[in-house]
Symmetry: D2
Subunit: 342 residues, 4 copies
């Protein structure tokens, strides 16, 4: 019996990516595709890479259109998910790819998003301690942000293992799809090709409190995060370069052992052999995470670097992985660790 | 019972791509991976995007290594396939992704490749008239060149329908992976990013006689091809812009009808609705071909444009599609029409 | 005594490029910078690469702002130049980088632009026969389109020399800056990176009649043009691949000789030595044109390829070159043939 | 009377860039162009963007070829500059764009470069305290590394002003030209386009001791540097994201004031207005440095970001700027603060 899935916000990048994955998911049948300003348009004109859906028409995002599905994926602007979710009923699995239900602290939400906090749902990063148990059987999932996914997976073994001081410094490069399809001048091809530039510098990026929440939970103490995102001339991918001072007495072997243990049984996280480093191209279009870690004895820092596809593991792949857990399916159903490279 | 497949030349781009597809093929089990200068190296260092094969080691390309498989894919430099194929026996399906067995005319081969002609094998472009019948049950397959794939699928309905004069003008842009992993200065990232440049201008490209062979066969008369390839700043994709003078009395409706008929039942070729044009990003990583055609009344020309992924439909996807036919499997097994975009 | 220059439309790509060149022009002093929707903004926020103008403020495009200059460059949307030019007086040199005054045939204008024809000004492509004489002392200049610049310089020696049949087939790739700073979804970085796509196929591009006008004038007979533009994943550059059937009896030597003669004394057009081909990276940011030509004996065609920077020689550099001629300055003042590569 | 300049290593990226700048330098006449493996080749085939030098021929790098010039620029592999410099005589200005004479500490050199230390020359980063005085009249100049240029200019005001703790964390993205024209698989266009990847992680990059030397000198105490370089999909540019814990009691105003003071009179360093951030595209091909700084109160860190063109200010532009000082010319002769964008 197929799981029937709808996608709200199907014309954007997150919506397109979850459909790309669901089209290859053996247990899922794709139902309604809804949108806002593009409703009524042929889907083939909106997402020309999804040929099997080319003849579909985008419907408006309404309770009627989204009703009657087993799973509804929400790829909506921040602050709009709660109202839609309320209309869907408690027996429908709602997977929110927006930010609305990620943060536990209402004050954090209000400070970074400027609206009332809608609540907190089970967090869709199964690799974090305790996350799988919370997702099993759940009818609500908050998919993590793309940067928090890359950063948490790069750093949590260091904090879970008590290896690092609670002040992390993170510089991450993202492909432009992370900014969505919004028509902004700085996202034009002419502007981004051949250019690297930072944004949200100095603590202002909305993903910062989510990283602090995740790292603090595994560290057992508050972790301060200095986070600088940069826009890179590529469509997809996040490379997160993360570091923190090592706790006294830590050795390179301690660091390696902690990461090897943390990821020994994870289906999607691949700790690279020593001497090799992640590249975003290697995980292009895949749900894999490539991680490497080093101990810089001169600077006394643990340096952990991860590469993910921001749209796959960073958004839609993480959503499908969490859906699989919630529905009791094998966690990797419909997901791949194979990148499309070169 | 799984089909056991080996890949000779597994460390290059064609070899890597066929492995990417075979890893997702439900009927195939991957056997030996062989190479030349990289033999002995960890496969994870050579093809880091193929995580499930990361712990494999590249073997030397020998009859011993390649023996005992049901299918052997050859991704070797031109001129080396015949010797390897001879050693493999007539009961093994040999799929040659090189040029050695594509051309029917020995003089063409000798003029463009400068060595003795090895022969002609059934041609792995199933969409051409008669091609599927020749592939069924065959133990030898010559996979087409990437440009001839894009060009033949753009133009054959025009020639099959008697719409176009036998002088085609073709300008195609390719991603750099079409040139392979060869260490040449003009293929360095610093040289190709931000630059378009032609090569092999004036009839010198080796794919020209293959295009003439394919188009001439469907036209029923010799077709002259003026072919100019250009190198584009992208890793994958071919956009082939093809045109020819329309035969007298031809209308835009005639053109549209011929293409609609030719591709009505093809699983991988998608004739776009009028007003939409192909983009290589839409077929990135997929076996799909996007085609559009127009009739320019002022210039009196039929203009047909196709977009493919040079590594997938243009090489490894075409190889797997043809293998499926040869083995009696459903033609689209393990293949997708869904691109990885944006 | 400095030439005082104003730029209307200074916040766009053409306006920015003409300012980049004028900042290095020893005879020019930069006056008013005007714009429309961005008026009132700091220029440093609009064109952050033009550091010497960072503290300027964009003024509204009015007769007052533009008055009192020796030269006014117009980088305005099509159809707006005539009204502005009328207000400026006959003693001011007006250089229109838009399309309004390029076409001689009013019917062509109306068919392709859908408004009343404003007239025809001396055409700013000095390399064409007779063009320099028309520009000398002129107070009005129509700067050619970027594609007509590339195509006319690739093909005019073939038509001037009577080498080619009057049916040209042209496929050109352009960088995204050719489409301007307009906020359109298909121009987003996520869409253009890694993708080649055609547009305006089948005779619909507005630059087609301009090419026919230029080539017909030198051929002495009407020349039909089949023109297919494609969008390439780079910010700047045009590579124009142009061909036509050779007239009977033409040899490769005839072709080479005609091009060598045509460009022997041109300061900006460089006919490459045999065996080398143009690349857009080589002319990045420069006013140079790189041209190569071949005779394909099998197809019986002359194939001429040019590379320009669409914003420099294709727009603002051509404008400054023509301004120099109009003002009696050395033609290459403030212009360079040196590209910024790699 | 023109300054006559030779370039050893003229076929590489650094050599080509210094020639690009010297061609526009009003006081310089270009003499010998020498190389190693490419000697005897037409320069137009090696550096096709430098049209005025297209007809030159590359000579072998010998004392004869380099003799008789006022200035000799060395763009040689590490370790080869000393032997060449010795042959040139004390009255010739030798500008070494390699690493040989940058480090003051012989042990640092031996540890990172594995050969005997050749010595220390006046350091060509004029913006550092005391650097201009050392360069004036000097006959030897050690041009800084590209990363140390970007990092030192981002951070030195913080250390000169006593604002930051002596532990800097730096993540920098570079264009691929920073790795030179070496034929290495990971530098192929197919590999770098669409990909971000780190290298030399954990303290191993050779530019680390040079950064520590520069920052320690202005801080008056040893500064530890954790440096992670990453390779970005662009040909040129460095974006350096640098941070350090703020000293106790420091405010955002203190930070801003220190940077404003440090760069008030610098011709090439532009401290951006608050709210704007550097982009490498804005300095493409220019000698400008764009710097911005923020104080992250939550993390307690000073975050300073700089953008340079690695080949211009990061190599050849810095070399010409220093040459100007050494020769008593205005420091900005032949150099520009205007980027080629978009």
């Amino acid at each position: 019996m197929a799981v029937r899935a709808a996608v709200a916000g199907a014309s954007g990048y997150a919506g397109g990516e979850v459909l790309r994955l669901l089209l290859g998911h053996p247990e899922v049948e794709i139902g309604a595709l809804t949108g806002h300003s593009n409703a009524g348009q042929a889907f083939g004109a909106l997402q020309p890479h999804l040929l099997p859906l080319a003849d579909r028409v985008l419907e408006p995002t309404t309770a009627e259109a989204l009703g009657g599905h087993d799973v509804v994926f929400l790829a909506l602007p921040h602050g709009q998910s709660a109202a839609v979710a309320e209309q869907l009923g408690d027996d429908v699995l709602v997977v929110d790819m927006g930010a609305d239900f990620r943060l536990e602290d209402a004050a954090d939400w209000e400070r970074f998003y400027g609206s009332a906090h809608a609540g907190t749902w089970p967090y869709g990063l199964p690799e974090l301690p305790g996350a799988r148990a919370a997702l099993e059987g759940s009818k609500r999932i908050a998919v993590p942000g793309c940067y928090p996914t890359a950063v948490s997976l790069a750093l949590f073994p260091a904090y879970a293992g008590g290896l690092a001081e609670p002040e992390a410094v993170i510089v991450a490069a993202t492909g432009t799809s992370g900014a969505g399809k919004a028509l902004k001048p700085h996202l034009l091809g002419s502007e981004v090709m051949g250019s690297m530039s930072p944004y949200g510098v100095g603590g202002g990026h909305r993903h910062t409190p989510e990283m602090m929440q995740n790292l603090g939970a595994v560290a057992g103490e508050p972790v301060t995060v200095s986070f600088t995102p940069t826009l890179a001339p590529m469509a997809r991918g996040i490379l997160a370069t993360c570091s923190a001072k090592a706790k006294p007495g830590i050795t390179a072997e301690d660091v390696r052992a902690a990461y090897a243990k943390a990821y020994a049984d994870e289906p999607f996280v691949h700790l690279l052999p020593e001497g090799r480093w992640p590249a975003t191209a290697s995980v292009h279009g895949s749900n894999a995470v490539q991680v490497q870690v080093a101990y810089d004895a001169t600077a006394g820092r643990v340096i952990a670097i991860s590469a993910i596809d921001n749209l796959t593991k960073g958004t839609a792949g993480g959503a499908v992985q969490s859906m699989n857990i919630a529905l009791g399916l094998p966690e990797d159903t419909g997901l791949s660790t194979i990148g499309v490279a070169p």
